[in-house]
Amino acid sequence: MSKLLEVRGLTKQFGGVTAVSEISFDVGAGEIVAVIGPNGAGKTTLFNMISCFLSPTNGEAYFKGNKLTGQKIPQLAHLGIARTFQNLQIFHNLTVLENVMMGAHVKLKTNVVNAAFRLPRILKDERIAYDLALDAIHLVGLEELMFEQAGQLSYGLQKQLEFARAIVYKPDFIMLDEPMAGLNDYETNRMAGYIKKLKSEGISFLFVEHKMATVMELADRIIVLDFGKKIAEGTPDEIQQNAKVIAAYLGEEVV
């Protein structure tokens, strides 16, 4: 399997605290990798370093052989990386359709000048954005709510909307930060369904999640963090048997 994402020795120190220490792993094409760990293990910090929101103290990440570390955030979308946020970041004052159409930005050539003079390119772009947005909206089944303000949707629907917005431009690699957090069982199953469907289309995922049932069901490989260090990596079955992982989650027996 060809490597899509390569993480090499990522380390982040906040003052004297080492939040993430020497983490290395790969994500192959068409693979779903989950990052799990107790609260404060450094999952989100790791996530933010890969997606260039934080610059690492040490180490690098590569995507398709390009160095990611040090890139500007907007550049990632152009490389084919999409991400969602733990604390939902949707555009509250835009309609659902407009939110999803925003996701098509990297496919469009609209700028302030050709928009101001309404050059033919604009109409073409609107059509591209609309077509792409419609596909994504169909996938998550938000057709009925297309013209509602995004801020008025329920939390579960907003999560689906954010997911739809991330997949509009058909990225190769999607990073999800706790995609199931706050969702009920029905919504969780639906979200898992979308992820599986996109995986079958060859898209890779890296996600952080606390709901173990979902992780075990979806992930091809799991990486376990504890106190900023990688303590285990393997298939769901291997992880469930791993003594270190059990100790991290349940505590060690003091004898």
């Binding site: 979308a77 946020f85 970041q89 555009f91 004052n93 407009e98 928009a115 101001a116 309404r118 609309y130």
Partner: protein
Amino acid sequence: MSKLEKVLYGNRLKPFLFLVGLILMLPFVVKSSYIFTILILIGIYSIVTLGLCLLIGYAGQISLGHAAFFGIGAYTSGVLTTSFQLSPWLALVIGMVTTFFIAYLIGIPILKLKGHFLALATLGINIIFYILILGLNQLTGGAAGLIGIPSLSLFGLPLTDKLFFYFFVWTAALLVLLLSLNIVRSHVGRVLRSIHDSEIATETLGVKVENYKVAIFALSAAFASLAGSMYAHYITFVAPPTFYITKSILFLIMVMVGGAGSVWGAILGTTVIMFLNEIIRFVGHTYFGISGEVEIVVYGLIIILIMMFLPKGLMHVISKPIQKLKQKKKVKIKSHKDMISQKGV
């Protein structure tokens, strides 16, 4: 395609034609030269507030310094036509281009600031500009101001005639409105509103947020400069107090009162505030014997009341019932296949 635009952003032709009709009709109704002057000033200030509305209402970036850009336009026109005998038209264009680049260069560092900090930085720009025009008295005439700025003339037609100038100003304002509408009703409009809601998410989608913020800042400054040049050629006299921060605040109040979320609100707000201004001055002077800038006190009250009771501005009050009426129609268009069959036409 046009159908999709209509569903997303409503009709724009009808309100536009309504405004054009109103502008054409007013000269027949209004005979008072005094009110005509106010109508001309509304046209001039609308150009500023339209740009400001794009910046504040759409992109969510505040500016308390647009009187400086208004002033750069006015003083460029004034200085170039009096000291260098340049054509007023050329001076107007030079003013716009210069302001665009100045604003672009200023915008790059200061638009990294957010909220109150940005407000203070833009306020600083305004104060710096004010000090410069006071200090550079060789060029600008200092506190005494600049007199004898020539009037504009178009194809040999002197625009000193109020009627001609009225049509000229409003043609320019309508063009600016059209450009603004085009921007707002396109992908760029969505980008700007996205930046307002969540900058971080907008960046993640591949938008170079910095570039958009700076471009809109510079564009709104260029609009302000255009208005400034027109102002200089209309009044034929410019002096520093016109371009102090009180004017910037006035522009801001116009945008807020009209409703920052809509470009139509900019024109409405400008009109309301301009007439209110005259009423306050008249009432204050004749009934209370107050001279001086009493309107400032009332503005303070107005902005507090608007923020408390009408945070979306007057335009929202007007457009809401219209939208409700249309809601029933919309449900029919909403049927999905209908939209798909229409797109691309």
